[in-house]
Symmetry: C2
Amino acid sequence: MKAFITGGAGFIGSSMADRLLLGPHNLVTIFDNFSWGHSDFLPRDNVGGRFKVISGDLLNLDAVKEGMAGHDIVYHFASNADIAGGAVDTSLDIRQSVIATYNVLEAMRHTGVGSIVFPSGSGIYGDLADQRIREDHGPLLPVSMYGAGKLGAEALISAFCHLFDMRCHILRLANVVGPRQTHGVVLDFIRKLLKSPDRLVILGDGKQKKSYIHIEDVLDAIFFLDAMCDQQINLFNITTEDAVDVNWIAQSVAEAMGLMPVAFEYTGGDRGWPGDVPVVNLDASKLFNLGWRPRLTSRQAIALSIKQLLERVPAETTRQAQA
Amino acid sequence: MKAFITGGAGFIGSSMADRLLLGPHNLVTIFDNFSWGHSDFLPRDNVGGRFKVISGDLLNLDAVKEGMAGHDIVYHFASNADIAGGAVDTSLDIRQSVIATYNVLEAMRHTGVGSIVFPSGSGIYGDLADQRIREDHGPLLPVSMYGAGKLGAEALISAFCHLFDMRCHILRLANVVGPRQTHGVVLDFIRKLLKSPDRLVILGDGKQKKSYIHIEDVLDAIFFLDAMCDQQINLFNITTEDAVDVNWIAQSVAEAMGLMPVAFEYTGGDRGWPGDVPVVNLDASKLFNLGWRPRLTSRQAIALSIKQLLERVPAETTRQAQA
């Protein structure tokens, strides 16, 4: 299989690249503009010339077409990762979610690539308090530009699949954690505590409660669904079944870093930033009913990702401080 | 009230302008690029300087901001009207629906206009055969670029309302008919029969069955909902309760033009064009439960619009032929 991974140097994309390259016959092209991506995340050796990196921008349609030609499937993982930033520069998600996805679809149409895997997110559902959310929930009223951009991208994927005979997997993911996170609450806490080990500023009131899923479980789910579902449009929530609050994460990070007691300070309000959804309760029964379950709970996923990030981030921080 | 109407020289926009100008204290600004709009549709006399026309493009954000400043409400009626064309030039709906709506919202944010009325459509729901569709239907899987663009625009409106404290009415309209239609099956049939009075080519098999609502009923519903609903997001299907098929419309147009018998010829297939949805069955109980009903059924709306279009179109056609 020849896979084209947008955002392939980022958190989810580079993890997918590594997984795909375990398959001895797979070829992987990574397309990334290195805005969130890291060259450190690229495959270590060139595994028999089976992967290629294109440094390019999805807003350049010609570059996307040229890079994509000859592939079998697109993993479209490039995205704006700064959800709070979308409320300041509202064009971020328009460009990096809507237009970028449109260009990916146009390139697929022009180059004849017929299959796309797209990570959407709980943000498309809006703010539903602790309501359990299935894939058929409506109406869809996102409260962030990130959520709006993802929903716009989903809509385009749906239309392209119908009009041009493509096939898609749209995966509405809980918060994904793991060693290569480039953003998110765990990474944020580790970075803050490396700078000031005795106090931690927590955005909001710390009671925001969400589900977290480990990257390895996400990759498993993607391959599972690819094998199990071949409708034209395959739409699934992917989440763990438990949820943890931000205070628990803060406590866990501080403990793992051996820093207790740490003074927790709160910016206040029930959400971390404009567009944040304080409680998310995705229902993944549609996926679970097919027989799949994540190996790690939210608590286990957070605990593992703290451990994994503590192997990566302090060294990075030291390097940056020395640079 | 100072109203800013995008697409104000088009079918729905110009009808709204006329209605608003009946209110002696209303001021109306029409913003239109005259791609679908007609100067014939502009208000006849300047009713005491209460309306203004700006010939401009929504893709020019600065022009939108400049034109919008000082208004109280935006009626955002500009849109791509060529649904079939979206499958040929896929960028049409991206530009004229998604980006145009984004620019309208950005201009609102910059100029402090806090209220928007947006006509969405049944296209956002996708192809659901004869299933009755309420506003809370999910998942939303549009099959046309038009539907995808409208859904993307809805998502942006929702996010902007939440992030920047705006208020919106999102109205998912059945097919709107009336004297100023610039597109649609009735107008298409009239134009074809004016050219060739003895035969009519019908796209698809003629069995596509949808609801139609007269523009005057749509305007009534918009004002009714404005008075009745002041949530941050007000989302309603607006439709009649009956539906008619394309064959019935063809027959009605031919009869009204005194042309029977006409040879009906079919292009075949169950839909008129790629992205067409052959059967649409919107459920407007949410609106009806508030006490509102359209005055005309689909049949009556079509019959009236045929009569009204036959007063406009033949003269236009003659003028064009002579020009």
